[in-house]
C-alpha cells in the first residue's frame, strides 16, 4: 500500500487555517486522490491554536497525520512554528510564514492562500485543479485577490530556490 501524503496546516483561530485545508483537500479530491481532512472545531475558534490535517493518496485510512510523520507543515502564525515543528518527519518540508511578505498581497487576508500557493509547488496536484478548488471554496468576490495570493506564494518558492 502506497502511503498517503501527510500535510498539517497550523495557525491561530481566524487566520483561515480551516479554509486553506478545505481548498487543499478539494484540490486533491478533484485531482482524483482519496482524501481525508480532519480538524478540531470548537474552543479553538476563539483565537487559540488551530491545526488541520490533510492526507491524500491512493488510500487513506486514519484521518489524522500520525504524530511526527507530516511530510509538509504549513504554518500561518510565527509563534506556531515551534509548537508544531515536532509533527514533521525527518526531512519533511516546513513552509513557514516568513516565506511570503504580506505587503505583496492584494488582500492580506489571503495569506493562507499564498502559503497554499507555496505548498502547491511541492505536490502532484495539477495547477488547474488548485484553481478550480479556489473558485469552489471561495465567494466569487474573493477570487481575484486569492488567485493573486496563490501566485505570490508560488513565486516565493521559485525565488527562494533561486537564491539558495
Amino acid at each position: 500500500m502506497k502511503q498517503p501524503v501527510n500535510i498539517i496546516l497550523a495557525g491561530l483561530g481566524g487566520q483561515g487555517v480551516i479554509k486553506a485545508s478545505d481548498i487543499l483537500s478539494e484540490a486533491a479530491f478533484r485531482a482524483g486522490f482519496e482524501v481525508k481532512k480532519s480538524e478540531i472545531h470548537g474552543m479553538s475558534q476563539r483565537g487559540g491554536s488551530v491545526t488541520s490535517d490533510v492526507r491524500f493518496g491512493p488510500q487513506v485510512l486514519s484521518p489524522m497525520v500520525p504524530p511526527g510523520e507530516a511530510d509538509f507543515l504549513v504554518v500561518l502564525a510565527p509563534d506556531q512554528v515551534e509548537v508544531n515543528r515536532g509533527q514533521l518527519r525527518p526531512g519533511g518540508w516546513l513552509i513557514a510564514p516568513d516565506l511570503v511578505d504580506p505587503a505583496q498581497l492584494a488582500n492580506r487576508k489571503s495569506f493562507n492562500v499564498a502559503l497554499l500557493g507555496a505548498l502547491s509547488m511541492h505536490l502532484e496536484i495539477p495547477e488547474a485543479q488548485w484553481r478550480a478548488a479556489l473558485r469552489a471554496c471561495l465567494a466569487p468576490k474573493l477570487h481575484a485577490a486569492n488567485e493573486q495570493a496563490f501566485e505570490v506564494g508560488r513565486r516565493a518558492v521559485v525565488a527562494k530556490e533561486h537564491n539558495s
Binding site: K37, S44, R46, G47, P63, P66, P67, V83
Partner: protein, 546 residues
C-alpha cells in the same frame, strides 16, 4: 451534479445527506460540538430542521414525529444525551411507528466538552440498538441503515459518532435515488404508548424481544464483517479506531463492527478462535472488551492510559507493542480567549473587581475562568449555574454568601436555566441571589446558532421569541433589570454591587450582541423586515442541486 458522483463531505454533512435521502421528515436537536453542523447542513440541503430549546425537547419532538409514522433525526453532543435520557429510556419501551434516529456525537479527548463520557453505554442502559460509522461514507450509509432498522423493529436507534468522524471530510458516494417518504398517519395505541405500570411491564418484555431479534441480525449483517489477514494477530474494533488500527497493523485480520449493540457474540467468538492473538482496539471506555470478556472469551484490551484522549495510529502501535512508556507531550499551543470587543469582558472585569464567587455555566463565557479574569469558580453542565449558586448561598456564611453570583448565557438559559429561576423563587436564600444572563443574542460557542430567545428559526426566519425579562417578572422575581452593556465596566459594576447589597432576588439581563455575530444578526433582521424572512433564494437553489 448527478447524485451518484462522489462528494467530499464531513461525517456531519454525510449524516444530513443520509437523512435527506432516507426520507427524514424533520430533524431536531440542540447545538453542540461536534454535532452542530448536521442540522445546519440538512436545512441547507432543503430538508426540514429545527433547533429545540434543549436536547430533551428535541428528542420529544422526534418521538412525536416517529409516533406519527414519519422519519425523525435527532442530533446532539454526548452530554446532550444526558439531558435527553429521560425520554430516551421510555421511548425504547414504547417503540415507534416511523423511524427515530438519535445521533450522539461523542468528544473523546474533550476538544470542546466538559467530560469524556462514552455514550456507547447508553445503548446498553436504555436498550437501544447502536450503529457506529468509521468515516463519511459509513456515516451516510449507516444513517440509512439506522432508519431502516428503526422502522423494521419499531425501535429508536442510536447512531454514535465521534469528533473525528463528524469533522473529517472524506469522499461519499450517495444513492442514485432518494427513498420515498412514508405518509404520516396517527394510529391510536393506548396500551403501547401510555407507560403506566400495567402497560410498561409488557412494554419492557417487548423491548427485550426486539433486542433478541436484533442480536440475531447482528450476527448476519454485513455491517459486522471480517477483513481477512494474518492468523497471528486479530483486531476487533469499531468506529474511527478501525481506521487507526488498519493503518497501524495492515497485516492483521480485523473484525470490523459497525453495529455494536446488541453485539454479534457468536461472530466475535469465531473470530477470537481464528487468531493466535486477539486485541480489542477501541477509543474511550472498554465497552467492547468488557462485553467480550463477559462472554467468556479471551482478548487483550488496551492499558488504562489509553482510555484517556483520542486514539491515533501511534497510540494503536503502542497498544499492540505493549508499550506503556510515557507518551511525549505536545508543546502547548495558544489557549482560546474571549474575542476582542466581546461583551463578556465588561462583565468579568466587574465580577473580578467585586471579588464575586461566580457559579458559571457552559458557553464562550467559560473562558472567564482563564487569566486575566480568573473570575469563574465552577462550570459543570448546562444550566447548573443557578442551582449551584443557590446551594452556595444557602450554606455559606452570610459575608461569603452575599458575594455569590450565577452567570449564564442566553442560549444556555433557555436550554435549562428557567427551572433554576423557579427554584430561586421557591427556595430563596436568606441573603437573596443575583443571576446575570449574559445575553449576546446567539449560541456563540458552537458557531452562532439561533435559539428561542433570538426570535429567529434555524434558517434565520422570524418566529416567536422568549423574552427573559418578561419571563423573570412573570415568575415573580423581585427585581428584573435590563442592562445594555457598553465598553466600560464601571456602570455594570455599580449595578452589580447594588444588586448584591439589596439582598433581594435579582435577575440582570446584560445585553449586547456577540461581536462576531452582530453583522449577520443585522442582516437577518433586515431580511425579516423586507421579505418576511424567507430563506435566501441562492440557498434554496444550491439545496435543490445536491
Amino acid at each position: 451534479m448527478s447524485s451518484t458522483e462522489r462528494q467530499l463531505l464531513s461525517g456531519d454533512s454525510a449524516i444530513a445527506l443520509g437523512a435527506l435521502h432516507g426520507g427524514v421528515a424533520l430533524g431536531t436537536g440542540y447545538p453542540g460540538t461536534p454535532s452542530t453542523e448536521i442540522l445546519e447542513y440538512l436545512s441547507h440541503l432543503g430538508g426540514r430542521a429545527q433547533w429545540s430549546p434543549n436536547e430533551k425537547v428535541a428528542l420529544e419532538v422526534g418521538i412525536g414525529v416517529a409516533y406519527g409514522g414519519a422519519r425523525s433525526l435527532v442530533t446532539m453532543k454526548h452530554v446532550g444525551v444526558n439531558v435527553a435520557a429521560d425520554p430516551l429510556f421510555s421511548v425504547a419501551h414504547t417503540g415507534v411507528v416511523g423511524a427515530l434516529v438519535l445521533v450522539s456525537a461523542d468528544d473523546p479527548g474533550m476538544a470542546s466538552s466538559q467530560n469524556e463520557q462514552d455514550n456507547r453505554r447508553y445503548a446498553v442502559a436504555a436498550g437501544v440498538p447502536m450503529f457506529e460509522p468509521a468515516d463519511s461514507q459509513e456515516a451516510y450509509d449507516f444513517t440509512l441503515a439506522a432508519i431502516e432498522a428503526s422502522e423494521r423493529w419499531h425501535i429508536p436507534v442510536l447512531l454514535r459518532v465521534t469528533t473525528r468522524v463528524c469533522h473529517t471530510q472524506a469522499p461519499v458516494r450517495p444513492l442514485a435515488q432518494a427513498w420515498p417518504k412514508p405518509t404520516p398517519r396517527f394510529e391510536r395505541d393506548l396500551r403501547g404508548r401510555n407507560l403506566i405500570p400495567a402497560n410498561a411491564r409488557p412494554a419492557h418484555r417487548r423491548l427485550r424481544q426486539k433486542l433478541a431479534e436484533m442480536a440475531a441480525w447482528s450476527e448476519t449483517t454485513p455491517l459486522n464483517h471480517v477483513v481477512p489477514g494474518s492468523r497471528q494477530l486479530g483486531i476487533i474494533t469499531s468506529g474511527i479506531a478501525y481506521m487507526h488500527a488498519r493503518e497501524a497493523a495492515p497485516e492483521a485480520s480485523f473484525l470490523k463492527l459497525g453495529f455494536t449493540h446488541p453485539l454479534p457474540l457468536k461472530k466475535i467468538a469465531d473470530f477470537v478462535r481464528s487468531v493466535a492473538r486477539c486485541v480489542v482496539i477501541e477509543e474511550g471506555d472498554p465497552y467492547l472488551a468488557d462485553a467480550i470478556r463477559a462472554a467468556g472469551l479471551t482478548v487483550e484490551s488496551k492499558p488504562e492510559m489509553f482510555r484517556f484522549g483520542e486514539l491515533n495510529v501511534n497510540r494503536v502501535r503502542r497498544i499492540l507493542a505493549h508499550d506503556e512508556s510515557p507518551e511525549p507531550a505536545r508543546p502547548p499551543g495558544k489557549p482560546p480567549e474571549l474575542c476582542d470587543g466581546c461583551s463578556h469582558h465588561v462583565v468579568f472585569q466587574a465580577l473580578k473587581n467585586l471579588d464575586c464567587i461566580v457559579a458559571g455555566d457552559i458557553g464562550c463565557y467559560a473562558l472567564g475562568v482563564l487569566p486575566p479574569y480568573s473570575a469563574m469558580d465552577c462550570c459543570v453542565c448546562m444550566g447548573s449555574s443557578i442551582g449551584i449558586g443557590l446551594g452556595l448561598r444557602h450554606v455559606l456564611p452570610p459575608a461569603e454568601a452575599r458575594r455569590v453570583v450565577s452567570v449564564i448565557g442566553d442560549s444556555t438559559f433557555v436550554h435549562s436555566g428557567m427551572t433554576g429561576l423557579a427554584e430561586m423563587i421557591y427556595n430563596p436564600p436568606p441573603t437573596g441571589h443575583v443571576v446575570v444572563i449574559l445575553d449576546n443574542s446567539t449560541t456563540a460557542m458552537t458557531g452562532h446558532q439561533e435559539h428561542p430567545g433570538t426570535g429567529r428559526t434555524l434558517d434565520h426566519a422570524a418566529t416567536g421569541k422568549v423574552v427573559y425579562e418578561d419571563l423573570g417578572r412573570a415568575l415573580g422575581i423581585e427585581q428584573v433589570l435590563v442592562f445594555p452593556l457598553g465598553k466600560d465596566s464601571a456602570d455594570f459594576e455599580r449595578l452589580l454591587k447594588e444588586s448584591l447589597a439589596s439582598e433581594k432576588l435579582v435577575l440582570i439581563v446584560a445585553r449586547r450582541p456577540c461581536v462576531l455575530a452582530a453583522k449577520n444578526i443585522r442582516e437577518y433582521e433586515k431580511m425579516i423586515t423586507t421579505n418576511g424572512g424567507c430563506k435566501s433564494c441562492s440557498a434554496t437553489q444550491e439545496g435543490a442541486a445536491v
